[in-house]
């Protein structure tokens, strides 16, 4: 069993740890709103929807993060148009995801014949995380934190009562658009480390567990942040020990914590 101190001592692990901790900050503050606004499916879909962008980036040599963000923001804009003022976005999320995945599959198999690099982007890696990845994750964490502080009251009012929030004169539509855009950008920022298919592990599972353990928005943010940090660090250590990408251990840990929270908070039937 390797020493947990390797996470701090070995440069590539240290970078991966910093990356996961930055994602955990985003996951804590933004994940709260992902769960409260019922955007779990969207956050998962936003990562997967970048598939055509990642294929094009792989084949053309442009930055996969930039290509992924362009597709993800376009996807968020499309989804936002299918819902208004806090209403559900489920159908639009699914419809546009299927369209983008289909385009991605055609591009990957028939146009660019893409291969291993795309697999890595779908499932993540702890190798090869560079300064650019860390910079993107740090920027996203900072923007998500500032946005959550400034817009938290508006997101709360819209999520609680969309009709009432509009009547309060709040910029409900723009706040919604910003939330979807932020979730999409955050999903792309998580791709290098956990992969497009396991974005949910960082942005949904910690907040979903926290939702069961706390009774206020502030408590939820604090608890989600703590769980995301703990699951990120522990998941990375397990990935290093088991020699697997970090996404799967982080996801399994998150799911286990959710399961425990569900059992602990299940109302007694006696």
């Amino acid at each position: 069993m390797p020493s947990p101190l390797d996470l701090a001592d070995l440069p590539f692990l240290r970078e991966a740890l910093v990356e996961l901790l930055l994602l955990a900050i985003t996951g804590g503050v933004l994940g709260t709103w992902v769960v409260l606004r019922r955007l779990a499916f969207f956050s998962h879909a936003a990562g997967s929807a970048t598939f055509p962008g990642l294929v094009v980036a792989d084949a053309s040599g442009i930055s996969p993060i930039l290509a992924g963000m362009a597709v993800a923001l376009g996807y968020a804009g499309g989804v936002q148009r299918t819902g208004r003022g806090g209403r559900e976005h489920g159908e639009g999320t699914a419809l546009l995801l299927v369209a983008l995945l289909a385009i991605g599959v055609i591009l990957a198999s028939d146009v660019f014949e893409s291969g291993a690099a795309v697999d890595r982007l779908l499932f993540g890696t702890i190798l090869g995380l560079g300064g650019a990845d860390l910079a993107v994750s740090a920027a996203v964490a900072a923007i998500a934190t500032v946005a959550a502080v400034a817009l938290g009251r508006t997101w709360s009012a819209v999520g609680f009562d969309p009709d009432g929030a509009e009547a309060l004169g709040l910029p409900a539509g723009r706040a919604d658009m910003l939330l979807l855009g932020l979730v999409a950008v955050a999903a792309v920022a998580a791709i290098p480390a956990v992969g497009a298919l396991l974005v949910t592990a960082v942005y949904v599972l910690p907040a979903a567990a926290a939702r069961m353990l706390t009774g206020s928005v502030r408590g939820l943010v604090a608890c989600a942040l703590a769980l995301a940090l703990a699951e990120g660090a522990t998941g990375l250590y397990l990935a290093y020990w088991l020699d697997v990408p970090p996404g799967p251990p982080v996801a399994v840990l998150g799911a286990l914590v959710c399961l425990v929270a569900t059992v602990l908070t299940r109302p007694s039937t006696v």
Partner: protein
């Protein structure tokens, strides 16, 4: 607008080009209360959306003294949302602008006073979803009171409310009127409409507007409700049959 709190002249509304409300003209003085009667799809919520500025009138004009406060039906709120009665009341301060700042001490003070006024002072820290139906309605009313608006629009505030809450809300309506605030209350209850200063009957168009005694006759109610109206012989009363159609009432 000649001193009126609400003045509507020849207003009409449409969704996707299809007219849903036409020929609406009425004027309400400060301190007056109006019961807006009509069947589901009759145009009550559409009228409120026009007054709130959420819907542009196809024709006509609407003038109000300031931004109105709105109390939606409690069914539209998320009961699982982690907010307390105080949190809900504090949301009313968002109408003052400065939505990017945390609530100030005075914002919280105003919210607490509004909760006291609706009889929920003791329940300020209780989760909204754990309140009774009547208490939830009063919490939403507190959110509207915090806005300190001159005009309040209330969408069926007494629907499904326990008698104690209904009595408290009705008494509050009188207090608000005495303060010079104007109330427009959408309702299905023809009998309770008689306690308002004015009645506005809608059924895709304005059927009637005036004091209850002069307005609520059998002909007007028949034109307003059609098949949904049952007139109780002998006592002269009338009741309506209404179906709750969540999310798509005009």
């Amino acid at each position: 607008m000649s001193g009126a709190a609400v003045a509507v002249e020849g207003a009409a509304a449409a969704y996707d080009g299809a007219p849903v409300l036409t020929d609406v003209s009425f004027s309400v003085a400060p301190g007056q209360s109006v019961c807006v009667l009509g069947p589901n799809g009759g145009g009550k919520t559409t009228l409120f959306r026009l007054l709130l500025g959420e819907l542009e009138p196809v024709t006509g004009t609407l003038e109000l003294s300031g931004r109105p406060a709105y109390v939606a039906q409690t069914e539209r709120t998320r009961l699982d949302f982690p907010v307390t009665a105080l949190d809900v009341a504090v949301m009313g301060t968002l109408a003052r602008g400065r939505w990017w700042l945390p609530p100030s001490k005075s914002d919280r003070g105003a919210a607490r006073r509004a909760l006291e006024r609706v009889g929920l002072g003791e329940l300020a820290s209780v989760r909204f979803g754990e309140l009774s139906g009547g208490q939830r309605q009063r919490a939403l009313l507190a959110r509207a009171l915090v806005q300190d608006a001159r005009v309040l629009l209330l969408d069926e505030p007494l629907s499904g409310v326990d008698p104690a809450s209904a009595a408290l809300i009705t008494a509050l309506f009188r207090e608000l009127g005495a303060e010079g605030r104007t109330l427009l209350v959408a309702s299905h209850d023809v009998e309770s409409a008689r306690s308002f200063d004015l009645v506005l009957c809608l059924n895709g168009r304005q059927v009637a507007f005036g004091p209850p005694a002069a307005t609520l006759d059998r002909t007007t109610l028949q034109a307003t409700y059609g098949h949904e109206l049952i007139v109780l012989e002998g006592g002269g009363g009338a009741v309506t049959i209404h179906h709750h159609e969540h999310g798509h009432e005009h």
